[in-house]
């Protein structure tokens, strides 16, 4: 077998059924081997960044490893953003890139870049395959590393001469032998016992859970623990869907755009038990003033996360599912105490607020609420990055694990549409909705054609406020309302000192998303009022193929609650509706 055939055999051995890719000079041998391939569905994206995001969406929606295939040079550099996105959110993907032939490496050959150098700090691990003899083991190791322990992206760079070289006696390895890689799965029983004793004694305990719960599939174990002990919990953006949105002990998402009860509970608890969460700055705000009264316990499969940002009194290294199961056995049941009642009442007394009157311009919050009502129960929501992402996190009623997919750590605009494509291909029977802003949607808008041609029925909901809304919000609140280069309608004739929409604004908005959709063979719909919205959502969600549903929303709506950067998370701006009340 030659190198290309070995790669394809390895993918099948790993249970891969779908690839996302883009050909180029040095990967022609690989695509040649795929030419008559029936077991693998190869999706030709229109940009390599989209291929990697699609593999990422495939992986996030299933927990299986997603695979992207790109060429050398620009194909590889285009893949970089996708790899970094997967790294920051611990998503298992394998990205296979072509490379110039071995003898040319280092000569600045045509379409040569140092892919292993570029991916070193943005992948979990990476390989440059110098010798065909190493290829089987590298393929095996790469998939193992991507999906085990704390998952992450693995890059495999394969020179073209390795793809064409023959290997006699090829056999795919059955076992993995990596002396330097042994993830800790079982938590130390002494530490778990110590944690259980500390929980038993705590008066104001709080669970702070993140993406690690989803990666470990530990939702049931977590709910068993919190329900047995009546300890309230908060869930980060990456963990949304861990429980139903209206679970009685769930306080919502904490952080910069967190819920009032979640943030205040974080700040006032006496024991904070983090599980698969990493004390990110968007969650903690000012670290020096974060949860100062709390003993910190931290359960994580990655020991390097423990103590990275905050001093931890009770570290437990291990897989969340295993540790929570053991913890659940050790803990004694306890009734809801005064603390539990207090924090849940804060939640009940501080609902999210916005205003929407009939016939009035659409509020983005209203759009998300209506989508939440009209979408199917097992729908997968994929977002892009910006205001709509936070509205989706806050206003959508998340209904289960792996149903909310979002670029959290890297905050990659352009992620939504291609990631949703990947989610559709992994879950062909489920409704998949990409919620995007008008800015981010344009960053991978070329994938509409991929959706139409391959009949990938992504339901794209474009929240169009004609602004790069999140940056505009910061400029409004903290930069004296100087809207510098955030208006997507701005022309050279606009006054440079523009401070927001006014009577003289140009009417024309480019592109016309409905026309773009239609030009790509995708159904295009538009709504500007609440009545139009309901009709559009009903039509769009029922439509069989891919569809773009554009919502023209209020231009200057802000995401609240909000904690200004660098402030402690209980110094919250709750928004105009709250202040009126």
């Amino acid at each position: 077998m030659n190198g290309s055939q070995i790669v394809i055999d390895a993918l099948k051995q790993e249970g891969i059924d779908t690839l996302f890719g883009y050909p180029g000079g040095v990967v022609i041998p690989l695509f040649d081997a795929l030419f008559k391939e029936k077991e693998l569905n190869v999706i030709l994206n229109r940009h390599e960044q989209a291929s990697v995001h699609a593999a990422d969406g495939y992986a996030r929606s299933t927990g299986k490893v997603g695979v992207a295939l790109v060429t050398s040079g620009p194909g590889s550099t285009n893949a970089i953003t996708g790899i970094a996105t997967a790294k920051l959110d611990s998503v298992p993907i394998v990205v296979i890139s072509g490379q110039v032939k071995n003898g040319f490496i280092g000569t600045d050959g045509f379409q040569e870049v140092d892919m292993s150098g570029m991916t070193r700090t943005i992948s979990k691990h990476n390989y440059l395959v110098n010798d065909i003899a190493d290829l089987p083991k590298i393929m095996k190791d790469a998939f193992y590393i991507a999906r085990t322990g704390r998952p992450g992206p693995v890059s495999i760079d394969i020179p073209v001469d390795v793809l064409t070289a023959e290997l006699k006696n090829y056999k795919y390895p059955e076992e993995v032998r990596l002396p330097g890689y042994k993830p800790t799965i079982e938590g130390n029983s002494k530490q778990i016992k110590k944690l259980a004793e500390t929980i038993q004694k705590a008066e104001k305990p709080l669970f702070y859970t993140g993406g690690g719960i989803v990666a470990a599939g530990a939702e049931k174990e977590l709910l068993a623990v919190v329900e047995k002990t009546n300890i309230p919990f908060v869930t980060t953006l990456m963990g949304l869907g861990t429980s139903d949105a209206d679970h009685p002990l769930f306080l919502g998402m904490p952080g910069m755009h967190g819920r009032y009860a979640a943030n205040h509970a974080m700040m006032q608890c006496d024991l904070l038990i983090a599980v698969g969460a990493r004390f990110d700055d968007r969650v903690t705000g000012d670290l020096s003033r974060f949860a100062t009264k709390a003993t910190i316990a931290h359960i994580d499969i990655d020991p390097a996360e423990i103590g990275k940002n905050i001093q931890t009194e009770i570290p437990v290294v291990g897989d969340a599912k295993h540790v929570l199961k053991e913890l659940g056995k050790t803990l004694k049941a306890r009734p809801a105490n005064g603390w539990c009642k207090a924090v849940t009442s804060w939640r009940d007394e501080s609902p999210l607020t916005y205003s929407q009157k009939p016939g009035e311009a659409l509020a983005p919050q209203y759009v998300i609420e209506k989508l939440s009502e009209l979408s199917k129960d097992n729908a997968i929501i994929v977002t892009d990055v910006g205001q709509h992402q936070m509205f989706s996190a806050l206003y959508y009623k998340h209904k289960g694990p792996r149903c909310f997919i979002s670029s959290g750590g890297l905050g990659t605009m352009g992620f939504g549409l291609p990631a949703a494509m990947g989610a559709v291909l992994a879950n062909p029977k489920r409704q998949v909705i990409a919620i995007c802003g008008d800015g981010g949607f344009q960053m991978n808008i070329q994938e509409l054609a991929t959706c139409a041609i391959n009949n990938i029925p992504v339901k794209a909901l474009v929240i169009n406020n004609q602004y790069l809304g999140m940056v505009r919000q910061w400029q409004e609140l903290f930069w004296d309302k100087k809207y510098s280069k955030v208006c997507l309608k701005q022309t050279p004739n606009c006054p440079p000192e523009c401070k927001g929409p006014n009577a003289k604004c140009p009417e024309l908005y480019l592109p016309d998303f409905v026309k773009v959709a239609e030009a790509n063979g995708v159904k295009g719909l538009r709504a500007s009022t609440p009545d139009e919205l309901i009709a559009m959502l009903k039509e769009g969600l029922a439509y069989k193929g891919p569809v773009v549903m554009e919502c023209i929303v209020r231009q200057e709506e802000n995401v609240y609650p909000m904690v200004p950067g660098g402030k402690p998370i209980d110094e919250m701006i709750l928004g105009p509706e709250k202040e009126k009340a």
């Binding site: 292993s116 150098g117 070193r120 700090t121 979990k124 691990h125 440059l128 110098n130 590393i145 990596l178 002396p179 330097g180 890689y181 990655d302 020991p303 390097a304 423990i306 103590g307 990275k308 001093q311």
Partner: protein, 159 residues
């Protein structure tokens, strides 16, 4: 408080393993005092000695991050405040123009080894603790150091 540490790594000798180690340290914003990589008694396994001056919690974080590298098999942090034996090897070329007898006497006192003696310079080598090495360099400085090469420090835990 920042103190000196030697982080001793056992690594699988793959292409780019040193780049991974140094890249990780610079990526996280730390600075390396010295680094040395040598073969061990096991084929394919190399020993890397990294010397860093950092606070305890940062050293702990660096050690954990290094441990995450797939090619790193073992990480041992040896704090220079605790029980350790640390040695460094130097080679130095010193001018003999000023006062050759005094210089040779100094070399003898420090038990440094004369490798070559030319008409106007002497080449010596010496192995010692960082303190002894420092003292020797200070002592021969006035004679005129023409070239100085240091191995970097390496350490073993002495318990």
């Amino acid at each position: 408080m920042k103190t000196k540490h030697t982080i001793r790594l056992k690594v699988v000798n793959t292409v780019g393993v040193m780049a991974r180690i140094t890249g990780l340290i610079s990526q996280r914003g730390y600075n390396i005092d010295s680094i040395m990589s040598t073969p061990t008694e096991i084929p394919d396994i190399y020993s890397v000695h990294l010397v860093l001056t950092e606070t305890e919690d940062k050293i702990e974080q660096i050690s954990k991050q290094l441990n995450k590298l797939i090619d790193v098999v073992k990480v041992t942090d040896i704090s220079h405040d605790k029980n350790y034996i640390v040695r460094e090897f130097i080679m130095v070329k010193i001018s003999t123009a000023k006062n050759r007898p005094d210089l040779l006497q100094l070399i003898g006192l420090f038990r440094a080894k004369v490798l070559d003696l030319a008409s106007n310079y002497v080449v010596v080598s010496m192995t010692g603790s960082p303190r002894k090495i420092q003292r020797f360099i200070e002592a021969v400085q006035p004679f005129g150091i023409q070239e100085l090469d240091r191995s970097g420090e390496f350490a073993v835990l002495d318990v």
